[in-house]
């Protein structure tokens, strides 16, 4: 069962002091729990009580106590209060938000935890309860539903019924009545119905006796027994039956090891005086991998599903909280999903960003702890769900591989692909923060704003299209955040009058990609080169047409240009006109769909000569729609096919091993982009660079990557090197022909 964030209703507040509300996490009889964001950017669970309850003085007093309790407890394993107001018309309380499942959900979904996990859980919760007791409080409601799991450790939540430890009488009634569905619960957990609270009450609590810290110890014993066996320690049934069994029966500890049996029996002693203390649960520093894989997957799923929501996307994000991808999990192909789950990549843990990030990256296990200040983040914004998702996803995969290889770099320097400075031990780790912009301009600008505001992000890769690149140009210019664009090739992005201070266009312009056409036509003996500029593709079509006509001047080849309106469906008359004009070679500068129609018309007219197109046509749609008519077409592109380049075999192997499929177009280029950025970061040594300094350094740098040498105009960020590749259609596939040598100068 996945918790989801619902949009705010019109009647909901959008701000509370220090908190912006983003959506609804849940609603109960007494109020609503919202997902919010603090001024510092952290996510928070914000509980707002309905005014009608707030009018009851007793209720307000109780709420005040909860706030005081939450405020006075400071433990790594409890959730800190981020704000509260018991005196407001609608009292509210906000705590740091943990996206993970409750222990109850985890056990219900994944079964009992292994002993190692149970022991680690016990140690960390003992630490949290020690803090509660040190503050002079008794939690009184320790149960699987009140423990949330994050990759770095559990979080004890809900101080809603905590009381001062000295001499309070147990308050069974109110408690049993709303068991499992406490309206005053922070309501972060909604599925603890299976395990009712009574199953975890201490005998003295059940009997209405003196209530002190040992009551929490008993409850913790019951909670650990549940974690170890998957069964409530006193069975299931009506509250009355559970209370009776708690007082009179022995807990159900069947099937656990003798050592753990002894430990838990001590915690579950009926008489508080006989009960073990919390120090029985020796606190050893828990490993990052304290949870079994299945639960880590659940945690990752939760965070991913929750944070996929557009409501959250619109807000400012702190990189340490960002999931590493934000497209809905359900839409991802199996491989991506598998990866996400296995690596626990999308983990969100309040106050636990460090470990969450660490968990997402191989090579940063317990033997290689990474302090937070040593993890530097690169953002990647891409079209992962829109019309260019193939390119976007390939870029994400390539970038992720580069990050993983860098982070797993040891002194031995054994890397599967080429990377920069292998053999050196990196002074920092890199985190990759991935955001999907769907290829839409407005969404892209929003992502760029988020990245710009997240101070943890030092550089960005993306976006995927010219249109989205245009939409983010100004945003990154203003934040001076280095933006390495892998695929946008439009010339205007780096034209001096419009240029951004932050963009690095990491590929040759569309004009350069089309530059070889005149020579290819000459080599093919073409006399009249027909040239179609399809306005559907905007600047790309224009650059291709303009450069080709320009290159043809002074040659013996005549150019015959035709421009067609966007979305032209009929190419018959155009083809007839061009053949009439004597065209014996063609360039089609348009999209894959129109190119397919054009190709079919040419074939129908019996033409089988030179047919050229830029990378806009290097799309499976062209092959599918054109069928036989696609055969023999030649295409040029700014990217290579790593699987067809022998020197890139180590990369292709590592990639295929990592993802289960060979690298897509632009995966290797994105891999290079990450390493280009990492080179810039390494140049600063251990000192975290400022954005402006990094951007300037990158623009001045020359980086020899897998696919090409990168160099930039320091003023406008345009690409100053050459990298154009040729493909041809053969047997229904795009076949990589090879790199096109740079045109001779002068």
């Amino acid at each position: 069962m996945t918790r989801a964030v619902e949009p705010l209703l019109p009647s909901d507040p959008s701000y509370l002091p220090g908190h912006r509300l983003l959506g609804r996490l849940g609603a109960g009889g007494m109020g609503v729990v919202y997902l919010g964001r603090t001024e510092s950017g952290a996510l928070a669970a914000v509980k707002v009580i309905q005014a009608e309850y707030a009018r009851e003085q007793a209720f307000r007093a109780r709420f005040r106590r909860e706030i005081e309790a939450a405020r006075s407890v400071t433990s790594r394993w409890s959730v800190p209060l981020t704000g509260a107001d018991a005196e407001a018309e609608r009292p509210w309380l906000a705590t740091a938000f943990v996206a993970g499942p409750s222990l109850a959900e985890a056990v219900a979904d994944c079964g009992p935890l292994p002993e190692r996990s149970v022991r680690a859980l016990g140690a960390m919760l003992a630490s949290a309860l020690t803090a509660v007791h040190t503050a002079g409080l008794v939690h009184r409601d320790v149960k699987p539903g009140n423990v949330l799991l994050a990759v770095d450790g559990p979080r004890l939540i809900d101080f809603g019924i905590a009381r001062a430890a000295d001499g309070n009488r147990a308050d069974v009634t109110g408690h049993v009545a709303d068991s499992g569905h406490d309206a005053d619960d922070t309501a972060l957990t909604a599925t603890d119905l299976v395990v009712g609270t009574p199953g975890f009450l201490a005998p003295e609590q059940a009997q209405g006796g003196e209530l002190g810290p040992p009551a929490d110890v008993f409850a913790l014993g019951g909670l650990l027994a549940y974690a170890a066996t998957g069964r409530p320690p006193f069975g299931t049934g009506t509250p009355d039956a559970l209370l009776y069994r708690t007082v009179h029966d022995e807990p159900d500890l069947d099937g656990i090891s003798a050592a753990l049996h002894t430990l838990l029996s001590g915690l579950l002693a009926k008489d508080p005086a006989d009960r073990s203390g919390l120090d029985a649960l020796v606190e050893d520093t828990p490993a990052d991998d304290w949870l079994p894989d299945a639960v880590v997957r659940l945690v990752a799923d939760r965070a991913a599903a929750l944070l996929a929501l557009p409501d959250i996307e619109q807000t400012q994000l702190d990189a340490s909280e960002l999931p590493t991808q934000d497209a809905p999990v359900a839409e991802r192909p199996p491989n991506r999903r598998k990866f996400l789950l296995i690596s626990g990549a999308a983990v969100l843990a309040a106050g636990g960003g460090v470990a969450a990030w660490a968990a997402s990256v191989p090579g940063s296990g317990p033997e290689d702890p990474v302090p937070e200040h040593d993890r530097w983040h690169i953002g990647l914004q891409a079209d992962l769900s829109g019309p260019h998702k193939a390119a976007g996803r390939a870029q994400e995969e390539g970038a992720r591989l580069a990050v993983e290889q860098f982070n797993s770099r040891k002194n031995s320097g054994k890397d599967s692909g080429k990377d920069s400075g292998s053999g050196r031990k990196a002074p920092f780790k890199v985190g990759l923060v991935v955001r999907d912009d769907g290829g839409e301009a407005t969404r892209a600008a929003r992502v760029a704003k988020d990245f710009s505001l997240a101070q943890d992000i030092l550089a960005v890769i993306g976006p995927t299209t010219d249109g989205t690149a245009r939409a983010v140009l100004k945003v990154y210019d203003e934040s001076y955040l280095a933006q390495v664009a892998v695929s946008p090739g439009a010339m205007d992005l780096t034209t001096p009058s419009l240029a951004s201070r932050s963009l690095l266009q990491a590929r040759p312009l569309d004009a350069h990609v089309a530059q070889p056409y005149a020579a290819l036509a000459a080599a093919a003996g073409v006399e009249v080169l027909g040239l179609v500029q399809d306005r559907t593709v905007g600047v790309l079509g224009w650059e291709t047409a303009a450069i080709t006509t320009s290159e043809l001047r002074g040659t013996k080849i005549a150019g015959y240009p035709r421009v067609v309106p966007a979305h032209t469906k009929e190419f018959g008359p155009v083809v007839a006109d061009m053949l009439d004009a004597g065209c014996d070679g063609f360039v089609f500068a348009g999209g894959p769909d129109a190119a397919a129609v054009f190709a079919r018309e040419l074939t129908a007219a019996g033409f089988g000569g030179l047919r050229l197109a830029p990378q806009s046509v290097l799309d499976p749609r062209f092959l599918k729609d054109a069928g036989e008519a696609a055969e023999g077409w030649q295409l040029t592109a700014s990217f290579l096919d790593p699987a067809a380049v022998p020197e890139l075999e180590p990369f292709t192997k590592a990639f295929t091993k990592r993802y289960g499929h060979p690298p897509g177009y632009q995966a290797a280029e994105a891999y290079d982009a990450v390493n280009l950025i990492i080179e810039g970061l390494l140049a600063t040594g251990r000192k975290r660079p400022g954005r402006e300094a990094l951007t300037r350094r990158l623009r001045k740098s020359t980086y020899k990557g897998l696919t090409k040498t990168h160099g930039f105009d320091p003023e406008v960020g345009s690409f100053t090197q050459w990298s154009v590749h040729r493909y041809e259609v053969a047997n229904g596939r795009f076949r990589y022909v090879g790199a096109v040598p740079p045109p001779s100068s002068g």
């Binding site: 260019h388 439009a490 010339m491 034209t495 559907t536 905007g538 001047r553 240009p561």
Partner: protein, 269 residues
């Protein structure tokens, strides 16, 4: 390869001229002038579906779209910019208005000819104005062109043809003794770049030379499509006239035509 020997830098610069002045081109590329409207170029990436236009595009009121030649001509005359709309001091030239039964067509030899309107064009007029020579400065000549098509599709193809002409004939003869050279043109659909005002737009730049007036002077053709109607302002600079004053004149005259076309077509923009 490299038969023409354009270095990468020169190539880049030559192409960049399409978008903006390449101030430090070092003489390799054509010396295009800065487009008077200095539009931000746009377009979509390879294979993009066209970028979704922000907001709605213009939808004319069907009752106000002309269907007869007479109505079309009336609309064209209302929309064409009068001399004062280009700025103070602009006056009508003589003749002021072209023959409405003909329009300009670029022939195979890159020479403009006036030919009868095709049947899918309802009306097309060109009006001629100028800022007369004064105080040692040469005249600035402007033309306003309004064409009313029977269908939007026809107007779309006229825009495509304008772009095609600059590719086919970067050097053109306007009439005997008047030439334009080094033409670059660039199109932007609504929502792309700075085009937030018309269904489609084109800015074309080059240099103008006249046997009578000398040159080279900046030349600009700014064109927009509003539904089935296209409007264009053409400006030819003169001796001693600054780029800034030419820009201003085109901005005023051209934008007034776009606005009037929308008003006349009564759309819901």
């Amino acid at each position: 390869m490299g038969h023409r020997g354009l270095g990468r830098t020169a190539l880049l610069c030559a192409a960049a001229l399409l978008l903006t002045a390449c101030s430090d081109s070092g003489g390799d590329g054509p010396q295009a002038s800065k487009p008077p409207n200095s539009p931000a170029p746009s377009g979509s990436q390879a294979g993009d579906p066209p970028e979704p236009a922000p907001g709605s595009t213009f939808t004319p009121d069907p009752d106000r779209v002309p269907h007869t030649r007479a109505d079309a001509l009336r609309l064209a005359r209302k929309v064409a910019a009068s001399p004062d709309q280009y700025g103070p001091g602009y006056t009508e030239r003589s003749p002021y208005e072209s023959d409405p039964a003909r329009w300009a067509v670029l022939d195979e030899k890159c020479v403009w000819q006036r030919e009868p309107l095709p049947k899918d064009v309802l009306a097309s007029i060109t009006t001629y104005s100028e800022l007369p020579a004064a105080e040692g400065k040469g005249p600035v000549r402007v033309s306003s062109v309004v064409t009313v098509h029977r269908e939007v599709d026809g107007a779309d193809w006229e825009m495509a043809r304008t772009l095609e002409e600059a590719l086919r004939c970067p050097d053109q003869e306007l009439r005997a003794g008047e030439r334009i050279t080094g033409l670059f043109s660039e199109g932007m659909s609504f929502g792309q770049g700075t085009n937030a005002y018309a269904d489609d737009s084109i800015s074309e730049n080059g240099e103008y030379r006249s046997d009578q007036l000398g040159g080279p002077y900046p030349y600009n053709w700014s064109q927009a499509r509003i539904g089935p109607v296209t409007v264009a302002s053409v400006i030819k600079g003169g001796k001693g006239r600054s780029e800034q004053e030419l820009n201003q004149a085109v901005e005023q005259g051209f934008s007034s035509m776009v606005v009037r076309a929308e008003l006349e077509l009564g759309g819901d923009k």
